[in-house]
Each structure stands twice: as C-alpha cells, then as structure tokens.
C-alpha cells in the first residue's frame, strides 16, 4: 500500500517536495520492498523543521502506525515500545504510575523513533544530557533484511550511529528506555525576570545545582543595556501527588494565517508585552507538566501561524565559558536585523557526553530562533550568524536546519565520515544529500 502525497512536510513548511509514502502499521517482518535505486527514510510526526525528515523523490517509511507498547517494568521504570509511539502517549501511560520521560523536548508530539534519531535534548540537559543516554536497547531493521539489536554493549557502533543518526542507519522498530521516577504530574516553577544576557548567565549558573529544569525566553528585539533580556524559567518535579489535572485543552490553527500576521510590529508588541507580563522580579508557582514542558502543544499546528511561506528555525550552540562575546554578537545581529523572532529560547548545555556520534548538544549556550521565511533576507541573516558559529567553534542543529552549508556540517560533526559507514545503503534524506554529498540548493 502506498500513495504519492505532496502534502508530507516538515514543521517549517518551507520545503515542498514530492515523495512516496509507505505507511507502516506493524513491525515489518522483512524490509517493505527493495527495488533498484530506491531510497528510504523513516518519517515519524514530521516535527523536524527543515529537510532532515524529508527525502525528495524517494520513499518515506511512515512509522506512526507502529505505536504499540511492548513492556513496562513498573518497579524499575523500564519501558519498551515501538518506534512510532508518541511521547504524549508514553506520558499518559506512565505519569500516573510515577514515571516520566528522562528528557523532554519542547513538544510531546514526536515519536520515540524521532526522539532517538535526533537525540533530542530538554530543559534538563545540564544535569541529564540527551535522550539517547537513556536508550537501553533498540532494534534496527536494515534494508538487507537484517535486524540488529543494539545497545551500549551490543552492536555499540550501530547504537552510537543510530542515536542522533537522523534515521539514516535503518528503521528503528522498537526501543527500550529508562524512565525517571516522579511523585506526580506537577512542577514547582520559578520565573525570574532578567534585563540583560549577562544576568542570564548569572542566574543560569546559580540555578544549575538546585534546579533540574531550566530554560529562558528572550526578547530578541531588545538592544543595548537590555540586550538579551527575558524570563528565566526553572523548576523541579514537585512532590505533590494528586492529579487534579483534567484533559489538556488544545485548539488547532485550522488553516494558514496570512503572511503578514507575524510581522516585526506584531512580534515586537508580543515580545514587549510578554517581557512585562510579569511585574515582579520573581514568581513561584506549581504548574502541570504540560504547560511547563510543552507550552506550544496547546496550539495544534501553530506552524500555520507563519502563513503559506512557512518559517525557519535556527538553533545554534556556542561556547560561553571563556568568552561570552559570540552569543552577544549573535543577539546584537538579530536585534539589529529587525527580523523579530517570535519565540527565542536560550539555555546552557552541560558537558555530559551523548552516546550518539552526531549528537548536537555540547557544552555551551544554545539559542533557538524562529523566523518567518522572507527568502534571501532571512538567509542573509543566517549567513551572518553562521560566521559567528563557525569561528567560535559552535554548531547548528540538523533537526531544525534548512540552510547549513555542507562544509559547516562536516566541521560541526567531525565524526560524520565514521558515521557514513553505518548509513544503510538504501537510506538517504534531503538533508544528508545536502550536507554530506553537497547536493541540493538549500531547500
């Protein structure tokens, strides 16, 4: 069963390509089909922003139908499930039993396979590292029909290549992850307002020891003595047990918003209002894990707010310990460009290594920015930012990327050659052809 759908997109919606979809509903006993010159790529929920989850002219193996739980050891918190299970489904099952996913990305609407393939990180990176560190084992189906069980001990090379491997090493069928114990669904949260990026670093340092989760929203339009002002949100899992929470309330953006909706004026207004919404310096409260970890999930298909043109996300990491100039220079450039980022997120990464060879997080400060697709104007800003990332020995995040240069990718991810040997010979992606084989025109 297959169909040609031009409608499968990535989250940024800037890239329109045609590909064949093969939906998988069960763990396939053998590889779906193999004809000459076909290229495959697993596709989960399509929440990568650029072209890493797309395969122009090739085949996408849609994994969402493989969404069954296999095993849960409630005493040890070990969960095994198929790769198409979504994180929200895992949480719905395990939170009442006192277990949480060890690392939460910014949305729970990603599949387990996608979380592994992008080695996602979360607000607890400084103490917990990446998602891949909690994968105890997984099974990978290769196009030659072989199934590999891999773990840090067994077939550890394929394991290291598959974590953060962007789906290129084969089809993950299932994975077993170590969950984290919690008392209940609540988070004790504190929000601290800061008026300059230097204050961010200070609060960040002060929070590292006592807070498991931390992240900051910043106003990218603020300049001068307000450069990088924002709100620092930090929290810990609360010891409160009761689940008074009702079903999450969501609403959906039904269609494309007009392109002008998110323009510099409205975004500036939003940023100013958001910065001042909290009048006191500090605020403490207890919130449910959903608004704490996944505030944007309340608005389904929020990507349509950017209109038909779509949007880019740009996420970088640069070192800051010895020199904060690179991140400041980046903030200055963004502010000066006037291309307001509706949502900008700043966070420090710790130095906990990931088992994944192509893992993005590394010690430094990471900044994620959203920009409406304004064509060459946006790209010019990215080129400027790329320069700083390059010279400061930083890196860009493939899951978010649509524009990274091949030579940059290869220097940000020095193990890519070693990784390449583990790519399934029949697997490829638009992203990979762009950054490793130098094909394509950056979307």
């Amino acid at each position: 069963m297959q169909k040609q759908t031009p409608h499968v997109e990535s989250w940024g919606r800037t890239i329109k390509v045609s590909q064949t979809i093969i939906p998988l509903f069960w763990q396939p006993e053998k590889f779906p089909r193999t004809q000459e010159n076909e290229s495959f790529l697993p596709y989960g929920e399509g929440r990568s922003y650029g072209d890493s989850c797309l395969n122009e002219g090739g085949i996408l193996l849609q994994t969402r139908g493989m969404n069954r739980f296999i095993f849960l050891d409630e005493s040890k918190g070990l969960l095994r499930c198929e790769a198409g299970v979504r994180l929200d489904e895992i949480l719905e099952l395990t939170v009442p039993k006192g277990w949480f996913i060890p690392v939460s990305p910014g949305t729970q609407f990603v599949t387990l396979g996608g979380a592994i393939a992008n080695d996602v990180h979360g607000k607890n990176h400084h103490v917990a590292g990446t998602f891949g560190r909690y994968v105890r084992a997984m099974e990978v189906l290769r196009s030659d029909g072989n199934r590999w069980i891999c773990s840090p001990q067994e077939n550890s090379e394929l394991f290291g290549a598959t974590i953060g491997g962007l789906g290129l090493t084969g089809l993950i069928l299932w994975a077993e992850i170590q969950m984290k114990p919690i008392s209940g669904p609540w988070i004790d949260q504190e929000t601290v307002r800061f008026s300059h990026v230097d204050d961010f670093f200070k609060i960040s340092e002060d929070s590292e020891k006592d807070y498991e989760h931390s992240v900051s929203w910043i106003d990218t339009l603020a300049q001068g003595k307000h450069l990088g002002r924002g709100h620092f949100m930090r929290g810990n899992h609360s010891s409160q047990k009761d689940d008074r929470s009702s079903k999450p309330k969501t609403f959906s953006i039904p269609c494309n918003a007009p392109n002008w909706l998110l323009n510099p004026f409205t975004v500036r207004a939003f940023n100013v209002l958001y910065y001042h919404r909290q009048l006191t310096q500090e605020k403490r409260n207890t919130v449910h894990y959903r608004p704490f970890f996944y505030p944007l999930d309340a608005v389904l298909q929020w990507n349509k707010l950017y209109g038909k043109r779509g949007f880019f996300q740009y996420q970088l990491v640069v070192p800051y310990k010895n020199d904060r100039e690179p991140i400041k220079e980046i903030l200055r450039l963004v502010a000066k460009s006037g291309m307001a980022s509706f949502l900008a997120v700043l966070k420090t990464f710790g130095n906990i290594p990931s088992p994944g060879w192509l893992s993005f997080p590394r010690e430094g400060v990471t900044l994620a920015l959203d920009f409406p697709n304004q064509g060459s104007k946006t790209r010019r800003l990215f080129e400027e930012l790329d320069k700083i990332v390059r010279t400061s020995q930083g890196a860009l995040y493939p899951a978010k990327d649509a524009t990274m240069l091949a030579q940059d990718f290869q220097s940000f991810y020095p193990r890519w050659k070693e990784f390449e040997k583990w790519i399934d010979p029949k697997f490829s992606s638009s992203f990979w052809r762009r950054v490793a084989e130098g094909q394509g025109t950056n979307g």
């Binding site: 069963m1 297959q2 169909k3 759908t5 939906p23 509903f25 069960w26 763990q27 006993e29 139908g65 069954r68 739980f69 296999i70 095993f71 849960l72 499930c81 198929e82 099952l93």
Partner: protein, 245 residues
C-alpha cells in the same frame, strides 16, 4: 466488569475499542488472524492495564473453527456480556468484477463468516437472556455503487442479517447493534487520499461504546454519515444509476 469478546481484534477500530474496554475494566478475549499482530496487540493492551483472558489466532473464513473458538472464549471469560465483531477486508472491486473467486472471498469474509459466528453467539446469548452483540458494518452497505458493490453487498446482507437477528433477539433481551462507520483512517484505507470526511479510529471507538451504552440499534459513525446516507438513499434509482459514485 464486562466479559468482552473481540473478533478481528487487530483491526484499528477494534484496537481502539479494546483500549477503552480495558480502561473501564473489561475482561477481554481477542480473536485475530495473524499470531504476530495479535501478540503485539495483546502486549500493548496488557501494558495499558487490560485483563486479557485469552486470545486465539485463526482464519475466520474456516467456519468449522467457529464453534471451538466460541467455546474457548466462553471458558476463558466465564460468560459473555459483549461481543464486538470487527473483522473485514476491503477487496479490489475491479479485480472482483473480473474474477468471481475473489468476490466470493470478499463475501465470505465480510458476510458469511459473520453470519456463522453470529448464529453461534446469538444462540448462546439467547440462552442466557442477556448480552450485547455489536457488529461493524459500513455505510457502503446502504446502497450499491459501482465503485465497491461487492464489499457493499456483503455489508448490505450483513445489515439485513443483523436487523433480523435484532428482531429475533428482542424477547430474550439480547441487544444487537449495527455500526456503520464512514471513512476511517486505518490500514484498510491507507491507499486512499484523506479528506475532511475521514475519522480517526479512536473517535469511532468512543462512538461504539456510547451507542452500546445508549442501547442503540443502528449507529452511523461519525453521526453526520446518517445525513449523507439519507441523501444518497433518497436519490431515485433512475438518476442514481447514471451517477459515477
């Protein structure tokens, strides 16, 4: 705590219904064709806290196995409160037109196997003077159309069978529910281009349990298919025969 038999337990709608039944504490007995799929569904339900009394993997087109199947289910469940019949195939209409053996297969799967099972199940429930039989039919059984009249005629025959059975069971208190889903986003319709009319299997599953609770006879799911089918049924045949539906 209901004792629930689900036939065709690896179909998407059945899986979602089983999850809801499990959630309310039913004891389940699952019947499916592929042992691997049945096993993965059983494990998934068990992780979600379901009490699975037993499973059988069998080819329902072998009617001679139906009696044994029911006996095992009755033994494992120690009774029977609810039966959901959910198996079915959506064959290739064009191929069926050319080769009757394919059409025959479709009619066996979608009608005859149900008729055989329902005969055994209804006799059992009639004896106990209690129980609910819920069967997934289709809106396709409401009117014959050139694009899928083989599937449609099997489902249409099933609808009449259920109507008669409901009538027969009424005095004994056994309820018979005919479920008529419209388009549902399942493996069965994977090759179809999806539009706004497509519903998700969990939505259909909730509708099924609600219809059972409300003791309905026939339910269209989602509800708006009642209106669509009312219009389709009202078109005079001399016009309908000219349409390309």
């Amino acid at each position: 705590m209901a004792k629930t038999l689900i036939v065709g337990a690896t179909s998407a709608i059945a899986i979602e219904t089983a999850k809801l039944c499990a959630h309310r504490g039913d004891h389940l007995f699952l019947v499916g064709r592929s042992p691997e799929k049945l096993d993965s569904v059983r494990r998934d339900l068990e992780v979600r806290g379901a009490k699975i009394a037993g499973t059988i993997s069998t080819d329902l087109n072998d009617f001679s196995r139906h009696a044994g199947l029911l006996e095992k289910a009755l033994n494992c469940l120690q009774g029977l409160d609810l039966v959901l019949i959910a198996h079915g195939t959506l064959g290739d209409q064009k191929a069926c037109e050319q080769d009757f053996s394919l059409a025959e297969q479709e009619i066996r799967t979608n009608f005859l196997s149900c008729a055989s099972l329902l005969t055994l199940i209804s006799n059992e429930m009639e004896k106990e003077k209690a129980g609910t039989i819920a069967v997934i039919s289709s809106v396709a059984g409401d009117r014959g159309r050139q694009s899928n009249y083989i599937y449609g005629s099997a489902k249409g025959a099933l609808n009449l069978f259920l109507q008669g059975l409901r009538n027969r069971m009424y005095p004994s208190g056994v309820r018979v529910l005919t479920i008529k889903p419209g388009f549902v986003d399942t493996p069965m319709t994977a090759a179809f281009k999806k539009n706004i009319l497509f519903a998700k299997p969990d939505q259909i599953a909730r509708g099924i349990l609600k219809a059972i609770e409300r003791k309905k006879d026939v339910v269209y799911l989602p509800f708006f298919w009642w209106g669509i089918m009312a219009i389709i049924k009202s078109i005079p045949e001399r016009i309908f025969k000219k349409l390309k539906l």
